[in-house]
């Protein structure tokens, strides 16, 4: 029998994350970049909650992943879009779940190909630990540990509501 893990409410975590960030962002100059796909949804939530002026960017980091030689390039038609000048900007990278840290390394490498940011922060809904790189979140409302055989995925319903789901590998 699979053990049912109680998963936190994604919408409540989005709201809590926005409150964590509020004292540390300047609505006129802070820019968000969401990582496809879940991070983009969270970035949209945060953008609205924090009333930021700059439109959020999005990144498909698959061209920068370190497991390309093992996994190859999987079809992913998502395009990176950075609608602001990265040079000298304060950027918050946004993702749904922080795990090994490899996605974040890829995202930082990609960002630097657009310019040299003044500062990069990291905002995630859930930190599930098991880091393989020295990466730490700047803002994170929830931590939990999960078996390595499970993937924690953010999903968006037809009405736009966000929720977490556990998928067995």
């Amino acid at each position: 029998m699979p053990i049912t893990t109680q998963l936190p409410d994604a919408e409540a975590l989005c709201a809590a994350l926005a409150e964590d960030m509020r004292p540390h962002v300047d609505p006129a100059t802070t820019a968000l970049v969401g990582i496809h796909t879940g991070g983009v949804w969270v970035a949209e939530r945060l953008h609205a909650a924090l009333g930021l002026q700059m439109a959020p960017g999005s990144m498909n980091v698959s061209f920068y992943r370190d497991d390309y030689n093992q996994r190859g390039l999987h079809a992913n038609a998502k395009t990176s879009q950075i609608p602001f000048d990265v040079e000298g900007a304060h950027i918050v990278i946004v993702d749904d779940v922080l795990h090994t840290g490899r996605t974040i390394r890829a995202a930082m490498n990609e960002l630097f190909d657009y310019g040299r940011p003044a500062r990069i922060d990291l905002a995630v809904l859930i930190d599930r630990g098991e880091r393989e790189l020295p990466v730490a979140p700047s803002f994170c409302p929830h931590s939990m540990s999960l078996p390595a055989t499970q993937v924690l995925a953010l999903e968006r319903a037809a009405d736009g509501g966000l929720s977490f789901r556990l998928i067995d590998k």
Partner: protein, 325 residues
């Protein structure tokens, strides 16, 4: 893999993934669509401060050009460099082949230099297939082959970039009428285009050419043949012009280039017979005043330069997909 299996689908590995890109013929629709989908994010890379992604870092791509080409070789070179590969260009018609080295000896020598990918152009149909088959037969499955044009057979990346261009402007393949105009007989581009259009579900593919520039039995590919250009252009969404290949002509297939232009050159007056929003494509290099009028080539319906730009993204996608499989 059996010899028969290799002949049937030499391009796909046992998981149905692309191992080589040799021809569009026989590739399933979902593979074509996956290549076009993958090309989309690569087109954005060119707009960055640093026009490079690290996917093929440390890989060596050999451009093996046994036949002259500036544009295709350059776009493959740019694509490989934007993927961070090391690119080595070899114009073989000026080197070892003149000293008598065989095609497979050349490939073996470059494989011994730790090549990861060959981009091959050759005047003989089947040369890239032969190299791919030889690599598989000698256990070098990690080496990938891309056909950059072989004889009259295929030019798959040109076909794919043409499909990317059509999808960019017209969105849905399944409602289109597309005309391919000109020297179909000598054109590997036309063959790749026809296979791609039909696989992607274009309901009406027309071929417009004089009888002397049409291969016999072309209708069997599923196209409608027109010898009258005005009749063939009526109501089309896409006009794909072909280059008149003077260098491949033997004997008197045409009275003169002036005569050809009169009957088969795309002028504004003939283009007016197509749909008002029809796009005009050409694989380049253009013979202005032979197959296309300058007023059309430089006009608002031409998407000839975007084709070149899209070609880089499509070639990046193909190389990245192959190298990862």
């Amino acid at each position: 893999m059996s010899a028969l299996g290799l002949e049937k689908s030499p391009q796909l590995n046992s998981h149905g993934e692309l191992q080589h890109l040799l021809t569009i013929e026989g590739l399933p629709r979902d593979v074509l669509t996956r290549i076009l989908d993958t090309a989309a994010p690569f087109s954005e890379v060119a707009e960055r401060e640093v026009k490079k992604v690290p996917l093929l870092r440390g890989k060596s791509v050999f451009n093996l050009f046994f036949e002259n080409s500036t544009r295709t070789r350059t776009t493959f070179e740019i694509a490989a460099k934007r993927l961070s590969a090391d690119v080595i260009n070899l114009n073989i018609n000026t080197s070892s082949a003149n000293k008598g080295e065989t095609l497979l000896d050349t490939a073996d020598n470059l494989a011994a230099m730790q090549a990861d990918m060959f981009v091959v152009r050759h005047a003989s149909s089947g040369a890239p297939f032969l190299i791919a088959q030889h690599m598989a037969a000698t256990g070098r499955d990690h080496i990938h082959v891309v056909n950059a044009g072989d004889g009259r057979h295929a030019h798959p990346t040109q076909g794919l970039l043409d499909m990317y261009t059509i999808r960019h402007y017209k969105k849905d393949f399944t409602r289109l009428t597309v005309a391919i105009v000109g020297d179909v007989l000598h054109s590997r581009v036309a063959r790749s285009q026809i296979h791609a259009l039909i696989t992607l579900g274009v309901p009406e593919v027309r071929v417009i050419a004089p009888k002397t520039l049409l291969p016999t039995g072309i209708e069997r590919l599923g196209v409608r043949v027109f010898n009258d250009m005005r009749e063939g252009l009526r109501g089309v969404d896409v006009v794909m012009m072909l280059r008149l290949q003077n260098e491949r002509m033997q004997g008197a297939l045409l009275p003169s280039t002036q005569e050809y232009f009169k009957s088969y050159g795309l002028t504004p007056e003939k283009l007016a017979l197509a749909k008002p929003d029809a796009i005009v494509m050409h694989p380049g290099p253009m013979n202005r005043g032979v197959e296309i009028d300058s007023a059309v080539a430089d006009g608002g319906q031409a998407v000839i330069l975007p084709q070149v730009t899209f070609g880089i993204a499509v070639r990046m996608a193909v190389m990245a997909m192959l190298a990862g499989n």
